[in-house]
Symmetry: D2
Subunit: 370 residues, 4 copies
Amino acid sequence: MSMNTFGHLFRVTTWGESHGPALGATVDGCPPGIQIDEAQLQHWLDKRKPGQNKFTTQRREPDAVKILSGVFEGQTTGTPVQLMIENTDQRSKDYGDIVEKFRPGHADITYWQKYGIRDYRGGGRSSARETAARVAAGGLARAALAALAPEVRITGYMTQVGPHGIDRANFDWDQIEQNPFWTPDSAAAAHWADYLDGLRKEGNSVGAVIEVVARGVPAGLGAPIYGKLDTDLAAAMMSINAVKAVEIGDGMAAAALTGVENADEISMGPDGPEYASNHAGGILGGISTGQDIVVRFAVKPTSSILTTRKTITKSGEAAEIITKGRHDPCVGIRAVPVAEAMMACVILDHILLHRGQIGGAVGETRGTIG
Amino acid sequence: MSMNTFGHLFRVTTWGESHGPALGATVDGCPPGIQIDEAQLQHWLDKRKPGQNKFTTQRREPDAVKILSGVFEGQTTGTPVQLMIENTDQRSKDYGDIVEKFRPGHADITYWQKYGIRDYRGGGRSSARETAARVAAGGLARAALAALAPEVRITGYMTQVGPHGIDRANFDWDQIEQNPFWTPDSAAAAHWADYLDGLRKEGNSVGAVIEVVARGVPAGLGAPIYGKLDTDLAAAMMSINAVKAVEIGDGMAAAALTGVENADEISMGPDGPEYASNHAGGILGGISTGQDIVVRFAVKPTSSILTTRKTITKSGEAAEIITKGRHDPCVGIRAVPVAEAMMACVILDHILLHRGQIGGAVGETRGTIG
Amino acid sequence: MSMNTFGHLFRVTTWGESHGPALGATVDGCPPGIQIDEAQLQHWLDKRKPGQNKFTTQRREPDAVKILSGVFEGQTTGTPVQLMIENTDQRSKDYGDIVEKFRPGHADITYWQKYGIRDYRGGGRSSARETAARVAAGGLARAALAALAPEVRITGYMTQVGPHGIDRANFDWDQIEQNPFWTPDSAAAAHWADYLDGLRKEGNSVGAVIEVVARGVPAGLGAPIYGKLDTDLAAAMMSINAVKAVEIGDGMAAAALTGVENADEISMGPDGPEYASNHAGGILGGISTGQDIVVRFAVKPTSSILTTRKTITKSGEAAEIITKGRHDPCVGIRAVPVAEAMMACVILDHILLHRGQIGGAVGETRGTIG
Amino acid sequence: MSMNTFGHLFRVTTWGESHGPALGATVDGCPPGIQIDEAQLQHWLDKRKPGQNKFTTQRREPDAVKILSGVFEGQTTGTPVQLMIENTDQRSKDYGDIVEKFRPGHADITYWQKYGIRDYRGGGRSSARETAARVAAGGLARAALAALAPEVRITGYMTQVGPHGIDRANFDWDQIEQNPFWTPDSAAAAHWADYLDGLRKEGNSVGAVIEVVARGVPAGLGAPIYGKLDTDLAAAMMSINAVKAVEIGDGMAAAALTGVENADEISMGPDGPEYASNHAGGILGGISTGQDIVVRFAVKPTSSILTTRKTITKSGEAAEIITKGRHDPCVGIRAVPVAEAMMACVILDHILLHRGQIGGAVGETRGTIG
């Protein structure tokens, strides 16, 4: 019931604020015997790290992760793994403006109303910095997947920035690591670079769409009715800062399809069932089919902008606010590695749940076809 | 950790299969002293009940709900409330076709793979009939809301059938109860009726979009970071059969907005903060703002169609299948009361969580403005 | 977080009051493919059923259990199993005395204070009748254990009635089913019969001690630090009505031992480690050793007695009360099958947890010795 | 479902091993606005700290606790509180003996069997050092209780060392802080000192009994049937290292009582119901009565002793072992502040649960008497 925890058997509790001494993730339920070290986790944190190009915030944190428990001689022991990232770039500065005024689109006002106290420095708990802890935990999940289900490959990428979507005809997996947007469409990347440059200059920001695909996921994962694989993925993605929508497979577009169009017809392949299409996004009835798991989500534009917006103060007086500081013109970019981390955690969790209820090796199911 | 349970403090566990003796909901954590009787619950079940017009399945079930526990002399006692609906229309018929063949788009194949056994009669546990139990539990949640937070009003309605959306200019709350689609746009209702008639005649089906709005929800509800109000709503809606996407506020459209457009500017009103717009859907940082909570989701087309589709048998042989029987051309219609029920449960749950952590009366927050 | 639920992966939620329409157990997380029918469950309920001899209440209920969901063609399907027992012996009678007065030693006063409403008929939710639902769920757990871990044998028996304990020298497993006290010491059984006869005639009651042993439990079960096998067993037993203490292995007597005495020395046997003694009760560090799991608990005397006791009324006036009706002179007797059921549920649950985190077949561990 | 977590709304997850870099507690669900600083927590850790007298291990750790998150300007913010204690006294030494041999009575063998890997240094996760994290979390719980329910006073003390119990006639609350055993009987303290001296000289150890009392707890706390106050207390105490039994009120002795003796008769006092006795230990039907909550538990003798015991090696060979090092002759002594911490956490948790389900101010119930 922890409100800062996700997962059923692989349980990740994140803690920490943007400008406190440290933040991190307490990971309980990791299987024992998984090879892991700080360098492996650091790889994923470096991918997420801001300040690497002009499209992400210029805040520079080393984001060095430390493993404080649960690992002995390079392997997990089955006990809780504590992952800590110290906050080093805590600039001593005047927070005066956001101490008293609420930034529109931010959690400032709701945290204040609910708790009557808030760590306003850098957004406190509601800062996107919290996602560093998710990425660390996701790195551990990836290590466990590499050991238990090595066929699983998880890849996130951007498919839309503002109103500009990719051209699926240009889709090239190899492009994803080649541009600052992690997009498979190099033409879109070039276009978005210009577009974001313009927005930044005018002190504005924009939203984005990210897609995450998990390939090699075995059939049978998922726990209907309320612990469905898609339910858990929807919750995982919606919990990321600034996310306003989650789609599985065809998503919102499924509403416009007919039943004839939407049916992913089935045939028998050499290794089991094959599907003529994947409108379902790899999940039927909350359980994986063995196809690619396809999740997509929308991130709203960064709320911290250099354009004046109307707001009020804590004492209820009308005010105007400009959010100065180091902010991303499109926070969606940094959501890509975060979404991959969430996907890794959810799939690992369902692998553990599956073998708890069903038994057998990973990928083994009770029902056979053919 | 029950996989058939949702909610944190107001916990709903549904149970039962389409063609077993009964189905129902075990509700734990309902506050004591709530006035409730079977007639109140029946009201909501009747709204969901199929067979009421030609656009929903002709299966006729009385769907009579019985309260087996937790209520004494017309009031809840604080102990678990068991709500049972007996299945009476269990036609004895030949299920031969779906026993051996998997229906594309259905959970048949994944349940079989996972469990090695499935109650194929009417879809078993993955049948939309399970949602009757949700509606019963939602009726109890509504009764609790009526006592604890009487300003909360929850209304669901359809905004799209297939490719045909409503015209927001026609939006009329009073129309919602006046047409079989629970849509606020009477022109759309007329158009959809013709459209669905055509689809049914050709043995086809179509998807839909449903929107649910909760008005009068106090500010301060929600439990960041992973028990956010929007996270829980996303999970609740995604758990409904055939749902493929969930949006909060502007949803996917938020990706195309700029930060300047998306900022819901704040001013001070007589009763507290007011917002110039509601792109956020009433939730910031996972916590309610006091504005309308707006959730939208897409339902895929009914997979049971009278058009031949290619599939395989349990023994892996190629086959064709037509799903005869009593099916909805657009299951989205019946999702409206289900979504309302889920919204009621989630909001009640967060009211209980809020007063657990924060204390005070319902609607009271620790931080004041002005 | 359901307060009426126990278990992690094998989740049992009981519901229902003594004199409502029905009571039962919603069991979520049962593995699929377990052979079960109502007759198997009835076997255990009949063992618990009151009215079978003069030492248990003369209330006569058939306690017929119905399976409403989760079982198809004689096997569990992996979906929730609903077990319902209808209350048939709801005598229409005058409850006047206990409506207004609180029975000392009963939950009457605390339920009233907490909830402001209580179903006073027969104790309502706090009645020992609730344990029928546990026994039904335990029957399902036993069936699952029979399939997954057939070496596990669970046996409960009485070791003390009032101040009169058994003589361990007389311990005979075969005697347990031969007397109304399920005690392994036939001499004690004869003595207790006389003793309880005397108590009943004077309108009094007495406490008891029950011991439950699980033999054949594999090493490695348990989830430190807070989901330890002994922690879960302590909670399971303490949750039974009228239980005031729980012991594992030597229990309270361990306090008087020295470290030299208490060390269960280890040697290597043909099938793995062997222990020279079992002071630990089969659990070290919260994890099973492969020895017998030994749990013991004390049940306080029945609070419903025919002797006048001083109390107060709801309006706070001094009063006297005698609890008429059909009551057990020693409720401990009926706790034996209940404790067996709890033990079965806890062990099954930990088998599922173990294979979730560790993988492998039941009884398989990651570390080998020798 | 975290196995290293306890509590429902006030959730404490402990992490860390005896000789790793650090250990600590992640506390989620603490109410906002609680005044807390490191010095307050340190007070309780210092009470638990070993090496303060000759009856506890001579390991000397500063056990300095750091607050890494969840506190801003001296107050909790409602977000997770991370409490970290660095391990400074990690002597570089030869662990050779316990690397290969299993210490009887220790978790060495079961951790090895379950996980196939174990941090053998100082017992790793199963070390009593883990309880420092509980004490830190308990300090936070006490601060919250001081704010929410200032009448609650929690006191633990020893009542038995080996076979030597206190004389209740000597009971003096003021003595508890005056001797190294936290016992209310100064005569017993003197006697125990001699007794333990002798045991230590012969390389032996002994068990103990600890009692914890919570005074000023309001009536109405507890969540029947499986989240009862006594169930949660039993689990909390049983989860402490080396605990083998838990009693509520009269505990095991309740078995020997008659119903007439056991009934705590009720009368009406100026502030509500009063009871003539407290056999029940302040809990009826799982709900607090307003009387003192009385919990007692037995701790087995320290398993690490200087006397040779028979055991086996990882390769299954017969061996002998003496556990050298800095160990407590009676670990029960250090269990006193740990048990107080657990009591504080459980009571706070149930206060939050109560106001979640019932509403109202702390101590307020729905039912009134008089």
